[in-house]
């Protein structure tokens, strides 16, 4: 694979949910490239297919059309065994929105963090303990959380544990599905700082959010997802200041945390009616 080929390449991805009568299309030919070391935001409203895109990219749901390429390997159509072998290399990791649900309530934090490393089957016990300690420091957690259960930690601590779990295998790409939506503002800032550190260390990040405001400060590029299609991809500055697609304009105008001036209600309604189909 050439050095400037995308690390993650999603091409014309179609995803359907349900069967026969209740069949609905969640992704309509969505395409996205993520290069090494860059941070890409995916924004869109609820139901636009953001999470579907992330889950399809890592093989958690099957796709009905298009392809996903990770690190030069076409992963669409992988068998279960091939996925398993691929995932054990730990190239791509996913961080879920709700850390309480993504950590096993019966396993201690230490056990949850060790799991990906044990599955890789390369490291010894002491090596695993070292790796876990390093990454705990990276997400600013003390070692005494290791013996605790997820239910005994605060929401912010849990999300930092989830981030640490995604990092222990040394991934080249981490996809974060609404990583700060469930957190209060103090914890949000702390997690965003950790992500900024990550970004500086050269890990490629895909940051999924419904809020352009929380994505704008941390991303190099932003992809706008609308009704299952990527309607606009550009550098973050251009998306915020010179949105091309009507839907992007609507999003920029609706973001309360952006300083670019919000739209009044009439203008929003007008844009909403203009957007229609993607």
């Amino acid at each position: 694979m050439s050095p400037d080929a995308p690390l993650l390449q999603v091409a014309d991805l179609d995803v359907h949910y349900g069967s026969r009568r209740s069949r609905t299309q969640a992704l309509h030919g969505a395409s996205l490239d993520v290069f090494r070391g860059e941070t890409v935001g995916i924004i869109g409203e609820t139901g636009s297919g953001k999470s579907t895109l992330a889950r399809a990219a890592v093989g958690l749901i099957s796709v009905s059309g298009g392809s996903v390429t990770i690190g030069g390997e076409v992963v669409t159509g992988f068998s279960d065994r091939k996925w398993r072998d691929f995932r054990r290399r730990g190239v791509v990791q996913l961080v879920f929105q709700d850390p309480l649900r993504s950590l096993d309530p019966d396993n201690t934090i230490g056990a949850s963090l060790a799991e990906p490393l044990i599955l890789q089957g390369r490291a010894s016990r002491s090596e695993i303990a070292d790796v876990i300690r390093t990454h705990l420091a990276r997400v600013r957690l003390d070692e005494d959380v290791l013996d605790r259960l997820p239910g005994e930690l605060s929401g912010g601590q849990r999300q930092r544990v989830a981030v640490a779990r995604a990092l222990v295998t040394g991934p080249e790409l981490v996809i974060l599905d609404e990583p700060v939506s469930a957190l209060d503002s103090a914890n949000r800032v702390q997690v965003l700082e950790i992500l900024a550190d990550l970004r500086a260390s050269g890990v490629a990040l895909v940051f999924i959010s419904h809020d352009l405001g929380s994505v704008a400060g941390i991303t190099d590029r932003v992809a706008v997802l609308y009704q299952g299609s990527v309607v606009e991809v550009d550098v973050t500055d251009a998306i915020v200041n010179r949105p091309q697609h009507d839907y992007t304009r609507l999003l920029v105008g609706s973001a309360p945390t952006l300083a670019t001036g919000s739209l009044d209600r009439a203008r929003r309604d007008e844009l909403r009616s203009l957007v229609g189909a993607p």
Partner: protein, 289 residues
């Protein structure tokens, strides 16, 4: 889990009673002071220094018969529970993971088992395999297995769609790993409740089947059998059925108590009840931005 159960008073009581029952089952026959099958001239005698619980209508020592019968009674109940566990719980968990055809097939099989009338099935099994305790317990075990199937399937189903299982799969976990590390711990609490209840029920079934003369053939002693023979001589010794009755009741009660204790100590609320209080984690080094 045993340690957490033992922290509850009801759990300690249940474990204590069951321990006594277990000791009876293992050492009962050896402890019997007389041959449980040998009759004497003193039929239907009251309690005495020789025969602590008196003798039955053939002059056999009742205490010896109860002690000698405990092994069969307990083994029968355990057998029911084990069969239900293997035939019910294992396919219940696997039905979530082994694909649609296995799921469909096992669900229909369980529906069939639920629809089977107990007596017809019991008679058919007896006709096919003969009359005996293992056959009777096999029948009962098969017939209660749908409960185990449903309970374990329901628990496994909730877990299989959880994000922590997805997170494990994303780290390259196999189905076996997921079941061992994540599903099993969630299936165990409801399953042990079902298990404890079934052991209690199994006890009653063993006792009532032997009471009816199914399974164990006389003169072999069991608790239910002793109860049955004592009941026939109620007018001579009205107190006599009390001992086997209380034994059966206590054991069943202990199993139900254990089931309650298991329910209490599992789950978040249970942990709070039985875990030593931990202080919340102090916030870690805050960075000044």
């Amino acid at each position: 889990m045993v340690r957490r159960i033992a922290r509850l008073r009801s759990g300690r009581l249940a474990l204590g009673i069951l321990l006594v029952v277990l000791v009876l089952a293992v050492f009962g026959p050896a402890l019997a002071p007389f041959d449980p099958l040998a009759g004497t001239d003193a039929a239907l005698a009251g309690p005495s220094a020789d025969h602590w619980l008196g003798t039955d209508y053939l002059g056999r020592d009742v205490l010896s018969r109860i002690l000698a019968g405990s092994t069969v009674s307990v083994l029968g109940a355990v057998q029911v529970a084990l069969i239900a566990l293997v035939v019910g719980a294992v396919p219940g968990i696997l039905s979530v993971y082994l694909g649609r055809s296995f799921e469909w097939l096992s669900l229909r099989l369980v529906d069939t088992l639920i629809a089977l009338p107990f007596l017809v099935f019991a008679v058919a099994v007896t006709a096919l395999l003969g009359n005996g305790i293992p056959q009777a317990m096999f029948t009962v075990g098969i017939l209660v297995s749908p409960v185990f199937y449903r309970v374990s399937r329901a628990a496994a189903l909730t877990v299989s769609r959880s994000q922590y299982v997805e997170a494990a799969l994303l780290s390259g976990a196999s189905i076996g790993w997921v079941v061992r590390k994540h599903v099993w711990a969630k299936v165990l609490p409801p399953l042990s409740i079902a298990l404890a209840t079934t052991m209690g029920a199994g006890f009653v079934v063993v006792s009532s089947l032997t009471f009816l003369g199914i399974g164990v053939q006389p003169p072999a002693p069991t608790w239910g059998g002793v109860l049955a023979s004592e009941l026939q001589y109620l007018s001579y010794q009205p107190w006599a059925p009390l001992v086997p009755t209380v034994l059966i009741m206590l054991t069943v009660w202990a199993f139900n108590l254990l089931a309650d204790a298991v329910r209490d100590v599992t789950g978040e609320a249970g942990r709070a009840l039985t875990r030593p209080v931990t202080t919340p984690v102090a916030p870690v080094t805050q960075r000044t931005a």
